[in-house]
């Protein structure tokens, strides 16, 4: 660990020209940069996907745990009475924190996406909705259903859990998958850099021999390669991340039109997260090159 720190220090403060002692290798260098950029690009999406899935899971989970809806389906003249009766029952139900009937304008807003804003609800047999907020302990849904059935024939309790639970599950899976993809991409960067570093070390055996003969330590020689690959991975990943972030920023935003979905775009401070990718890439490249150089140099005379 102490040695790693010394190498990091050397990287930052050491001979800025150290990598000049190794000849430039145009094509493989470009491949490394390109691969790092591509990985970073994908990693940004994996990250966006995970965060979005996380948001969905949390939102659905919260609502699932706390709210349900009662629909009053009754002829127009009985609707108000039945609504009153249902609210009365809810007031005396253990575990219900709060219940209220949605106002006409709220119902209108909910239905507007399907029927248009001009619709007059009063003329239609639209069910009255009652929003029920539970206490943390929850309530006995089956018991409530029985009481409603007895006293308010038009009431239907919809406690959301039946259809939302699998969705929350799926969203959580999706989030896990996103992070797993990000980890795999990181590992791929490590593998790619290791291969590239081995190739570079092998191709420069002659250069390394000369450096050894004039008194260069393994550390100095390794540094030349470490510096080069770390900077390449960082540069490539930075470009890839920025491009991916631009693409994410211009994705159509779904969250306004359908309240239960969420945009793939980053939200709030999450915009800062993709900037970690180039840094992580650089760290991975640093470690991978250091290990590759250590192994190779030890074998030389």
């Amino acid at each position: 660990m102490k040695l790693v720190r010394a190498d990091v220090k050397r990287f930052v403060l050491g001979d800025r020209q150290a990598d000049r002692v190794v000849p430039r290798s145009g094509f493989t260098a470009q491949l490394t940069v390109f691969a790092a950029a591509a990985m970073a690009f994908l990693a940004v999406f994996a990250m966006a996907l995970s965060l979005a899935a996380g948001r969905l899971a949390t939102r659905w989970g919260d609502e699932l745990a706390q709210s349900s809806t009662i629909r009053i389906v009754a002829p127009l003249d009985q609707r108000a009475a039945q609504t009153e009766a249902a609210l009365g029952i809810l007031e005396t139900t253990a575990g219900v924190a709060f219940a209220r009937a949605l106002s006409a304008s709220e119902q209108q807003a909910l239905l507007a996406p399907w029927f248009g804003a001009e619709l007059d609800l009063q003329t239609l047999p639209v069910p009255q909705l009652i929003e029920v907020i539970e206490e943390d302990s929850g309530f006995d849904a089956a018991g409530l259903r029985l009481r409603l059935a007895a006293e308010v024939p038009g009431a239907i309790l919809d406690d959301h859990s039946r259809w939302r639970a699998p969705l929350v599950d799926a969203a959580n899976r999706l989030r896990l998958l996103g992070w797993l993809s990000a980890v795999l991409l990181g590992a791929s960067v490590a593998a790619m850099v290791t291969l590239a570093a081995h190739a570079a070390l092998a191709a420069n055996a002659q250069v390394i021999a000369v450096l050894r003969l004039v008194g260069a330590t393994d550390r100095y020689i390794a540094q030349a390669f470490i510096r080069r690959f770390t900077l390449r991975a960082f540069g490539g990943a930075l470009v890839g991340s920025v491009v991916a972030m631009a693409v994410v920023a211009f994705l159509p935003d779904a969250s306004d039109t359908a309240g239960f979905l969420t945009g793939l775009s980053f939200q709030g401070w999450h915009w800062f997260l993709p900037f970690l990718i180039p840094l992580l890439c650089a760290a991975v490249a640093f470690v991978a090159t250091r290990a590759a150089a250590g192994r190779t140099l030890k074998r030389l005379a």
Binding site: R20, V21, P23, V207, V210, V214, G215, A216, L297, A301
Partner: protein, 225 residues
């Protein structure tokens, strides 16, 4: 500074060198001779720590080579100027940068070092080739560049492996004069060569001792060459 005690070396087959004891006296001028394939390069490599002896011990500046880590040997090399038989360079760097390479890898680049470098380039007569790349140099220019690179760190000892290997007589005399000058400045010089006429030419300029490899051993040769 360089001391060999009962050293033997083999590349895997039979022994190439055996039972060699040798101590380089500071400030002396040595030739190491013997037919091609006798093991001159091998002996030099033992002297600068590129090879570990199969048996016996090699002591460099007081340290037993067997106990040194790779990086310790790298640091020791900065005190020894070595002109290699193939005098390889970094072909993508200019002659100047190649000659300054030991300074760079040891982190000793400075303004004073820069002036030394200019002076050294003039001394070996390469000032006009400063910006050339190594592959563009002639054989003699390569050898002089290699010599300049070997002495840029002002080492105590200069080891040169066939420094006149593929240059004409004129140029070999010039290189010899440079090596003799280094010796006059107090540096120990050891030149491996199979060229006996070079040794004869040197005798008029410097008090040289001649080591000859024969029958896997090193003998101090008489004056009769």
């Amino acid at each position: 500074m360089i001391e060999l005690n009962n050293v033997a070396y083999s590349y895997g087959g039979g022994a190439l060198l055996s039972d060699i004891s040798l101590q380089l006296a500071p400030g002396s001028f040595y030739f190491l001779t013997g037919p091609s394939g006798a093991g001159k390069t091998t002996l030099l490599k033992l002297c600068y720590g590129a090879l570990q002896p199969t048996s016996g011990e090699v002591t460099l500046f007081g340290d037993d080579v067997a106990g040194l880590a790779r990086d310790d040997i790298a640091v020791l090399r900065r005190r020894m100027g070595v002109v290699h038989q193939d005098c390889s360079f970094l072909d993508h760097l200019s002659v100047t940068e190649n000659i300054a390479l030991p300074l760079r890898v040891s982190g000793r680049q400075s303004k004073a070092a820069q002036e030394d470098l200019t002076e050294l380039m003039a001394w070996v007569g390469l000032t006009h080739r400063a910006e050339a790349l190594p592959p563009e140099l002639s054989g003699g220019e390569r050898q002089r560049a290699a010599l300049a690179r070997a002495v840029i760190m002002s080492p105590d000892v200069v080891l040169a492996d066939e420094p006149t290997g593929n240059v004409d007589w004129e140029m070999s005399q010039r290189l010899l004069r440079l090596l003799v000058e280094l010796n006059k400045m107090g540096k120990t010089v050891l030149i491996a060569t199979h060229d006996l006429s070079l040794i004869r030419a040197a005798k008029s300029q410097v008090q040289a001792r001649v080591l000859r490899i024969a029958n896997r051993q090193v003998q101090l040769a008489g004056a009769d060459l």
